[in-house]
Amino acid sequence: MYNRTRVCEQAVKIRLDIITMLAAAGSGHPGGSLSAADIVATLYFGDVLNFDAKNPQDPARDRFVLCKGHAAPVLYAALAQAGYFDKKELLNLRKLGAMLQGHPDALKTPGVEVSTGSLGQGLSIACGMAAALKAAGGPQRVFTLLGDGELQEGQVWEAALFAPHYRLDNLVAIIDSNGLQIDGACCDVMALGDIAGKFRAFGWDACEVDGHDIDALHAVLSAAPCADKPRAIIAHTEKGKGVSFMEGVASWHGVTPCEKQAREACAEIECAGNEARDRARDSVSSEGGHHG
C-alpha cells in the first residue's frame, strides 16, 4: 500500500547511497541520479512496480528499464534497498570485478532487466518487452526512465512512433526532465521544445508532473493505462536535487564529490529528511487533533 512517508524515507536513503557510492567510486554521475531519486523511490517503494526481490525473474513482475543508464547509482541504491543484493556491493561500484558496473549490466546484477548506457536504446527495448507482454495477454507493465537530453537521440523517436502504432498501453515512459546535459542546458545544446506536445503528436497519452512531489508522482505512475495508448510522463526535476551545491549545475553531471563534499552532501540530505519527517509527524498529529 502507498505510504508517502515511507517513499520519502526511501528517497533520502537512495540519495545518501548515491553520494556515498559515488564518492567511494571516484567517478560516475551524481546529477542525473539525484534528479531521478524521487521518481525511482516512488516506482520501487510507492506501490507502483510489482516485483519480488527474491525472485528477480518472476514472470508476473512489472519491468523497469533504466534507459538513461548513466543514472545507474539511483537504480543500484533502490535495488539494494529492495533486497536484490547486499548493500555492501554499493561500495564496490565501478571497481574491477564488481557486480555493479559503471552502467547497468543485466548479466551481472540481479534486478537489472537489461544492460543500458548507450543513450536512446532503452525505449525501443521497452517497446519490444511491452509488445511481447501484450501479445501474451498479461497484466504486467513496462516502465522506462529517460533523460531529457537523451531525447536528442533519433532512435527515441523511432520508438515513439512504434509504441502507439502497436497500441502499447502497457508502456510508460518517464522523462527525467532536469534541463541539463553534459555540455550545458538542453535549451542551449539542442532545444527540446514542448516535450509533452511532441509525445502527444506521436500518439501518446502525455502528462507533466513535479518530479520531486511524491504524491503527484504516485498519482501519475499508478494511474490506470489509457486504452490503446502508451503513456509519457514528463517529470520536471532539478539536476543534483537534494545537494545544494550540485543543484542546477551541469558540471555535476559526471563529476563525483570529494570526501569533504560527500560529508556535506550527506549531512544536508539527512537534515532535509529529518525536517520532512518532523513536518509529516506534525501534520499527522494535527490531523489527529482535528478528528479527535
Binding site: 544492460s115 536504446q121 518487452m129 512504434f162
Partner: protein, 307 residues
C-alpha cells in the same frame, strides 16, 4: 541455378513456428525482399514492422527476446549490421540476447542497386562482437539449415543472406553444425577456403585447376565464428597453401579471420580473394562477380600463383 539464400528466410521461420518454437520477427519495411512477409502472413501476431527504422527494429527484437522469444530481424545487410551496429553491440551482444540477425542482400550480387546497397563489411562488423556467431550459408539448403541452427542455439547470430540465385552445393537435408567447416572436395596441392556464393565458384575453380594437374581441396567455411580451426589447419598442413574466397571486402572478413588464426598456428602462403578495399557498383550479379575478380578463373589464377 538454385534458389537465393534469402528465399529460405520466411519459409524456415514458418517451419520453426509450426514446430512450436517461440519465433518472432521484426522487419524494417523490406519484408517482401527479405521474404519475412511470408512469416508475417502466417503469424501476424508474431510479426512486427518497425517501418524504416533499423535501430528500433533491432532493439524491439531485443525486448522480444528478453521476454522469451527467439527474435529474428530483417532489413538489408548494410542497414541491419551497419546502421544498427551499435544497437547490435550494446544491446543484443552486450546482453547476450536471443536475437538472430538475418538481413538479406549482402555482397555485390545485390546487383544494379549499386554500392550504397552492397554490404561488403558486414562479416567484419559482426565477427568482432563478443557473444556473436557468424554463419555464411553457401546456398538455399545451407541457409535453411543455418536459420534452424540459430533458432536452436541460444545467443546472438548473424546469418548472411543474399539476393541472387545461387548454385546448389549442399543436399536438402544438410545439417549446419556450429563451428564446423565442410570439406567438399579433397585435394593435396592447395586449399580453397570459401563462404557464401564463393563456395560454388571455388568448386568451379577446382575443376579448372584439375585440368592443369593441380589438386585443390575445397572447404565451405560456413561458420566464420566460431571458426573451425582444426579443419583448416589439417587442410593447410597437407596442401601448404591457401586461397580464401569471399563476396566481402578483403579487409576484416573470412579471409582475415582465417589469416589471423593460421598466422599464429600454421602460417602458409596465402592469397585472399575478395573486394579490394573499395565500394561496389551497379551491374548484374554475374558481371559484378567477374568485375571484382570473385569468379572461378580469378580464384584459379590466385591458386596457380601459389603452387
Amino acid at each position: 541455378m538454385g534458389k537465393a539464400t534469402r528465399a529460405a528466410y520466411g519459409a524456415t521461420l514458418i517451419e520453426l513456428a509450426d514446430e512450436g518454437l517461440p519465433i518472432t520477427a521484426v522487419e524494417a519495411d523490406l519484408s517482401g525482399s527479405t521474404t519475412l512477409s511470408k512469416f508475417g502472413e502466417r503469424y501476424p501476431d508474431r510479426f512486427y514492422n518497425a517501418g524504416i527504422a533499423e535501430a528500433n527494429m533491432t532493439n524491439v527484437a531485443a525486448g522480444l527476446a528478453l521476454e522469451g522469444n527467439i527474435a529474428f530481424t530483417g532489413s538489408f545487410a548494410i542497414f541491419g549490421t551497419g546502421r544498427a551496429w551499435e544497437q547490435v553491440r550494446n544491446t543484443v551482444c552486450y546482453n547476450d540476447l536471443n536475437v538472430k540477425l538475418a538481413p538479406t542482400h549482402a555482397g555485390v550480387t545485390v546487383g544494379p542497386d549499386g554500392g550504397s546497397h552492397q554490404a561488403l563489411e558486414d562479416i567484419a562488423l559482426m565477427r568482432v562482437l563478443p557473444h556473436m556467431h557468424v554463419l555464411v550459408p553457401a546456398d538455399f539448403n545451407a541457409a535453411r539449415a543455418a536459420i534452424r541452427l540459430a533458432a536452436a542455439t541460444p545467443g546472438p547470430f548473424y546469418i548472411r543472406l543474399g539476393r541472387a540465385e545461387v548454385a546448389e552445393v549442399h543436399a536438402s537435408d544438410f545439417v549446419f553444425e556450429l563451428g564446423r567447416a565442410y570439406v567438399l572436395r579433397e585435394g593435396t596441392d592447395v586449399t580453397l577456403a570459401a563462404c557464401g556464393i564463393e563456395v560454388a565458384e571455388a568448386l568451379k575453380a577446382a575443376d579448372l585447376l584439375a585440368a592443369d594437374g593441380i589438386s585443390a581441396e575445397v572447404i565451405d567455411v560456413a561458420c566464420i565464428k566460431p571458426l573451425d580451426v582444426e579443419t583448416l589447419v589439417a587442410s593447410v598442413s597437407k596442401t601448404g597453401r591457401i586461397v580464401t574466397c569471399e563476396e566481402h571486402s578483403v579487409l576484416g572478413g573470412m579471409g582475415s579471420a582465417i589469416s589471423e588464426v593460421l598466422s599464429e598456428v600454421c602460417p602458409v602462403p596465402t592469397r585472399r580473394i575478395g573486394v579490394a578495399d573499395t565500394f561496389g557498383t551497379s551491374g548484374s550479379p554475374a558481371e559484378l562477380i567477374e568485375h571484382f575478380g570473385l569468379d572461378a578463373p580469378s580464384i584459379a589464377a590466385a591458386a596457380r600463383e601459389l603452387v
